[in-house]
């Protein structure tokens, strides 16, 4: 019994130590980024990479999510004659939840993994040490631009994903379920509040920051060659995904709880 408790205690202490290391890393990166130089070209390159090149995968996912959501809610609501609520359910679900969460998870898989692999490879090939010897702070040059890009880019991506998701629902609603297009759009517009859009963008900013943070953190601390870089990539995606889902609950609680 005491051995079991010791193992649980050791795991908990290791978890706390990990949280502490992550908090210190974040604070150091933010502090480094608060002072010049700022590397605008590097930031812009990250925004293009993270945002523009993620558009196809995020757009496609949002489109099918909206379409499936319209179909499923129609099937469910038709059991108690509430088919008319499909447009409302689609727009609120996509804007409040599915848009930011699905875009966040897709970006975590596409960009977070790539960040961890790139920075991890730089770590194990001593390129990060080389940056330091060339009087360049790696946190300022590598980490801060990615954090900033995550913070700025994901809200833009999610704004696009929300529109595409709602459009997917509209397509299914009007072409397959025979809703009147004008009535569908009117209902969509009527029930969508500004706070829904704002909450969507706030969530997206938080998710983008978390994706970039976990990619950078895992890559920066990778060890042991190709295997270490592979592990860092896996950890980056898994930890970013878990944090997205956890923070989604906390943000929903904070933004919508009565």
């Amino acid at each position: 019994m005491s051995e079991f408790l010791a193992a649980v205690g050791a795991a908990f202490l290791a978890f706390l130590a990990g949280v502490g290391r992550l908090a210190l890393f974040t604070a150091r990166a933010l502090a480094a980024g608060a002072t010049p130089p700022y590397y605008p070209q590097v930031i812009l390159r990250q925004i293009v990479y993270m945002g523009y090149y993620s558009l196809p995968v995020v757009g496609l996912t949002a489109l099918f999510t909206g379409m499936v959501l319209a179909l499923q809610s129609y099937t469910g609501f038709s059991r108690f004659n509430a088919e008319g609520a499909v447009a409302t359910v689609v727009v609120l679900s996509v804007t409040r939840e599915l848009g930011p969460v699905i875009a966040g998870l897709m970006v975590a898989g596409r960009v977070g993994a790539a960040m961890a692999a790139e920075i991890g490879t730089m770590r194990v090939t001593e390129q990060i040490d080389a940056l330091t010897t060339l009087s360049t702070d790696p946190l300022r040059f590598l980490v801060m631009p990615r954090l900033l890009a995550g913070l700025v880019t994901l809200p833009l991506l999610v704004a696009v994903a929300d529109v595409i998701g709602v459009f997917g629902g509209f397509l299914v609603g009007t072409y397959k379920l025979n809703f009147n297009p004008v009535a569908y759009l009117t209902q969509t517009e009527q029930y969508l509040a500004t706070s829904d859009v704002v909450s969507s963008l706030v969530k997206a900013a938080v998710f983008g920051f978390l994706v970039a943070l976990m990619g950078c953190y895992q890559g920066y601390h990778s060890r042991g060659g190709a295997e270490g870089v592979g592990q860092a990539t896996t950890y980056a995606v898994v930890s970013a995904s878990v944090l997205i889902l956890l923070s989604d609950y906390l943000l929903t609680q904070a933004l919508f709880a009565q």
Partner: protein
């Protein structure tokens, strides 16, 4: 009446005292002492895993020692803040074992990196210097536009050397500069190192287990074993050191007092 002038001993360019560094239970450096004078070329030899790279990284500030001091021009550098560390780095140039060139940048951008990012030099001016330095290590301007992945190992070392000397630093560090190169290319790199160090009048600290390289680039050789410097002297005296460890290492004999660890600690 004026007091007679007292001659002060020259301050070493680099003075390391009581340097200790452990990783877990493995003590890699164990109270190591060593000096390097200005414009001197010091080569530290020792077997694989004896802590040569750890020593050089502690001097550079890439690793924080557990105890001891590292003085550069008389100033203790252990525990410097990031701004002071960045200023100190302006004195240094470093050639890494695997070259450590930035994959995402072209060759000339690699060479110019310390000038544009570290010193804020305009890009065009840094570009001209980069091509000058590439020429100094025997690489033509066409190489400058290539990506590091398109270069052979020997060419990558040359580019890394050009990057190390681009800002004309006071102190140059070379980590295993000839590892992985054929003997001819290794000799070319050794010649370039000697030429660059002498041309700049820089202080050089190299670590290697390649005795041909050590003999060629060193004014003084020191041997690291069990976390300490066990012998040091002018290069010409390495063959009559009267030290069984040095003798075994220099002649590459399996039998002797040095027992290689088969497993990493």
């Amino acid at each position: 009446m004026s007091e007679p002038a007292i001659s002060q001993p020259a301050i070493p360019k680099i003075a390391v005292r009581g340097l200790t560094k452990s990783f877990g239970r493995k003590r890699v450096l164990d109270g190591l002492d060593i000096d390097c004078d200005a414009a001197e070329s010091l080569v530290i030899i020792g077997g694989s895993g004896t802590g040569k790279s750890v020593l050089i990284k502690c001097i550079l500030g890439l690793l924080r020692p557990d105890a001891g001091s590292v003085r550069i021009d008389g100033e203790d550098t252990v525990g410097l803040g990031s701004a002071a560390r960045a200023r100190l780095m302006l004195k240094f140039g470093m050639l890494f074992q695997g070259s450590a060139l930035f994959d995402s940048l072209r060759v000339w951008e690699n060479v110019a990196f310390g000038l544009t990012q570290g010193r804020g030099m305009p890009r065009q001016q840094a570009r001209e210097i980069a091509f000058e330095k590439l020429a100094a290590v025997g690489l033509g301007p066409e190489v400058g536009e290539l990506s590091p992945a398109e270069l052979s190992g020997g060419m990558q070392k040359r580019v890394a050397l050009a990057r190390a000397i681009a800002a004309e630093p006071e102190i140059l560090f070379f980590d295993e500069p000839t590892t992985g190169l054929d003997p001819i290319m290794a000799d070319i790199i050794n010649d370039l190192i000697v030429e660059c160090v002498r041309g700049l009048g820089a202080t050089a600290v190299s670590i290697t287990h390649d005795m041909t390289s050590a003999r060629k680039i060193a004014d003084r050789i020191a041997m690291l074993h069990n976390g300490r410097i066990i012998w040091q002297g002018p290069t010409a005296e390495i063959d009559r050191s009267d030290n069984a460890y040095v003798d075994q290492f220099v002649h590459g004999r399996a039998d002797g007092p040095i027992r290689m660890e088969v497993r990493a600690a």
